[in-house]
């Protein structure tokens, strides 16, 4: 087996162009996919529960807010899935049919009006997110945060206007309506003017004149300082608070997710293509019959190809991770876990490659088959739950389970971010055994 392994490496060395492509192509594809992933889909599916009673008017500082219009504006940005209760919203998020849920509480309008009147606590909207993958979590965070920021901005402007009108009344004076009655407020400016006029009638150095001077100074100072309130009030920007709850699943950071995708794509292409091509080459060079005539058993040959794939994928994936570590943080303290994830993923991809090479029996056909299967599997494995219908997503989950990409990515992500490695490793081991068994069957008609 050692000699066959050396032979395969020697053949690779003799094909520098092929080897370069085998290394560069998957790395480029991996980086492109990683870049694309960081953008996310345009309209995430979000469950929307509006508990505010219908047709409740909201008016702040004379400005009417159209809640129905706000809802349709919201649903232009996200795909709203209407739900009728908190339990239903939670269920949708837990099942992965939506990326998150936005719940507007029943007392939203009352509390907002309270904030505008300067009494009471600000209202809180609830956001439920499923952070089973960080891409989805980031997506929901981004969209809901931007929507709430926009709403907060409009509301805070209205609240500020109300407050400023009161302050203006205090400074300049004027009429003020309260509970159906009209009051006239003198204002600091008028107070100062009246006091200055009264001051001139008082004898110089008298106690009354000094007392009036103090009141005039206060009125002047108060008027000047209240002039700054405009800019200060504009900074009051969060009338609505957000209560975010993570439902079902952990929350690894996006870097770990993107790196794991890039590494798994590299691992997949290098290993599947190399092993499929290398096995098919044994037949194309007519060497298979000669080899299996007592020199090595078909199973031994498969194991040799597996080792070849694992060795090469380990090298290329470490190369990719090493390169990426200049751009993003990689926790090299978890090197043993990273190595285990690469080895397990490499073995499963190598077994898949052997099955494809055994089935295709020709180098060109096996390479084509490897491409045709690998790319869709990678993309299918990256479809976030909630972006397609539930039935289609169930089919996607079955497909994911049958190929090594999803468990390979899970293993890599866990290795990079302190997650649980055991389940994906067991999954990969099961797939390795299954694909090796399929390869062995394919070799029966190989010679």
């Amino acid at each position: 087996m050692r000699w066959l392994l050396l032979k395969d490496l020697q053949i690779l060395r003799r094909s520098p162009l092929l080897t370069a492509l085998l290394v560069i192509y998957p790395i480029v594809v991996a980086l492109l996919i990683g870049f694309a992933l960081s953008r996310g889909p345009e309209k995430p599916r979000v469950a929307f529960l509006n508990e505010v009673p219908q047709d409740t008017p909201l008016s702040i500082g004379g400005e009417d807010f159209d809640l129905t219009g706000a809802r349709s504006s919201l649903c232009d940005r996200i795909e709203c899935v209407r739900v009728h209760s908190r339990a239903e919203a939670r269920e949708e998020v837990e099942s992965g049919e939506v990326l998150g849920a936005l719940i507007l509480p029943e007392d939203l309008v009352d509390k907002l009006e309270g904030v505008a009147s300067g009494v009471g606590e600000p209202p809180t909207v609830e956001v439920l997110v499923n952070e089973e993958d960080p891409l989805k979590a980031q997506l929901v965070d981004d969209r809901i945060s931007s929507l709430l920021t926009e709403a907060n901005l409009r509301l805070s402007r209205a609240v500020s206007n109300v407050t400023l009108s009161y302050l203006d009344l205090l400074v300049s004076g004027g009429d003020f309506d309260f509970l159906g009655q009209s009051f006239n407020v003198l204002g600091l400016q008028n107070t100062e003017r009246i006091l200055r006029s009264a001051r001139s009638d008082l004898p110089k150095g008298s106690f009354e004149r000094e007392a009036v001077d103090q009141v005039i100074q206060f009125a002047e100072l108060a008027r000047e300082n209240l002039g700054f309130a405009d800019s200060l009030l504009s900074s009051v920007s969060q009338p609505i608070q957000v209560d975010k709850e993570v439902v079902n699943g952990g929350s690894p950071d996006l870097d770990a997710f993107t790196i794991s995708v890039a590494a798994t794509v590299t691992l997949m292409f290098v290993t599947v293509l190399l092993v499929a091509g290398s096995l098919a080459l044994e037949r194309e060079e007519n060497a298979f019959a000669r080899l299996t005539r007592g020199l090595i058993s078909p199973t031994g040959l498969l194991v040799e190809k597996l080792l070849l794939g694992v060795a090469c994928s380990l090298l290329v994936t470490l190369l990719l991770l090493g390169g990426l570590s200049f751009l993003v943080h990689i926790n090299w303290g978890r090197t043993p876990q990273i190595l285990v994830a690469i080895l397990a993923g490499g073995a499963a991809f190598a077994a898949l490659g052997a099955a494809l090479g055994g089935a295709a029996r020709e180098v060109r056909a096996s390479s084509l088959l490897a491409f045709m299967i690998s790319l869709p599997i990678a993309f299918i494995s990256l479809v976030p739950s909630g972006t397609v219908g539930p039935a289609l997503f169930s089919v996607i989950e079955v497909i994911r389970a049958l190929f090594p990409f999803a468990p390979g990515r899970d293993a890599m992500e866990s290795a990079l971010s302190s997650g649980d490695l055991l389940v994906p490793l067991l999954h990969l081991a099961a797939l390795t055994v299954a694909y090796l068994a399929l390869s062995r069957l394919a070799l029966r008609r190989f010679a």
Binding site: S15, E285, N286, R290, R293, L295
Partner: protein
């Protein structure tokens, strides 16, 4: 391997030697579904014999050689080789074209667990007359030279019996002549060579004995002269003047093939 006229490469037919056989084949039967690829085929081969397995397409030649090589398991019958190992050379050159001639030989010598790898490689390069091209990639060799490397690999373990499956397929006349000179030299050195071919002239020219197969049955086992005699006898016209190909066709026709 010096180039010589092909005719000179022909060996004098060996008289049926009374020596102990190096290969004994008895009752070989192989079926693929309901079709019998081989039916009760048996023969013996002795040291240094050159035996041609001939017959029309689908006669069972490749199946017979595959069973003798141990690649295909027979349904019935047995193959014994008291003298030692059996070397096998597939019809298509089973070589790694990206490796050099020496690297191919070295790889298979390691896989065959040959004691003196480098010694065997050098010896085979000499026998195949490819020492000067040892560092050339196989993809750069002519078809004839590739076939000689292919045969040299089959000889690495110095087998007492060498099986060649249609060795001259795809070669031009000059390459064929050089190939047969090489093969005849092996037989002259004591290696028993059994080759399959559908080229009747080649079988006549280069073999000591013929094993004629048709529809999986062994119809004849003997020398060319014996085949002529059989045809003469069956035609009832006494010793007629006919070439070997005509005799062979008549022989098959008389048996309904």
């Amino acid at each position: 391997m010096a180039e010589k006229p092909a005719k000179k490469a022909r060996r004098a037919p060996a008289a049926r030697p009374p020596r102990k056989p190096v290969l004994e084949v008895a009752g070989l039967t192989k079926r693929y579904g309901s079709r019998a690829a081989l039916s009760d085929v048996g023969f013996e081969a002795r040291k240094g014999e050159l035996i041609a397995v001939i017959g029309p397409n689908g006669a069972g030649k490749t199946t017979l050689l595959s069973i003798l090589a141990g690649i295909v398991r027979p349904d019935e019958g047995e193959v014994t080789s008291p003298a030692g190992s059996i070397g096998w050379v597939p019809q298509q050159a089973a070589l790694y074209r990206r490796l050099t001639v020496a690297e191919n030989l070295r790889l298979f010598a390691h896989l065959e667990k040959v004691d003196d790898v480098q010694g065997s490689v050098d010896e085979m390069l000499g026998e195949a007359d490819l020492a000067e091209r040892r560092d050339d990639q196989v993809s750069l060799l002519s078809g004839g030279n590739q076939q000689r490397v292919n045969i040299a690999i089959g000889l690495l373990r110095q087998p007492s019996v060498l099986l060649l499956d249609e060795p001259s397929t795809g070669l031009d006349p000059r390459q064929r002549a050089r190939l047969w000179e090489f093969v005849s030299g092996l037989a002259g050195g004591g290696t028993t060579v059994i080759f399959s071919t559908h080229n009747v002239q080649e079988a006549e020219r280069y073999s000591d004995r013929l094993l004629v197969l048709a529809d999986g049955e062994a119809l004849f086992d003997g020398t060319q002269t014996e085949l002529h005699r059989t045809v003469d006898k069956e035609s009832g016209r006494g010793r007629a003047k006919r070439d070997f190909e005509t005799a062979f066709v008549d022989f098959l026709a008389h048996r309904g093939h």
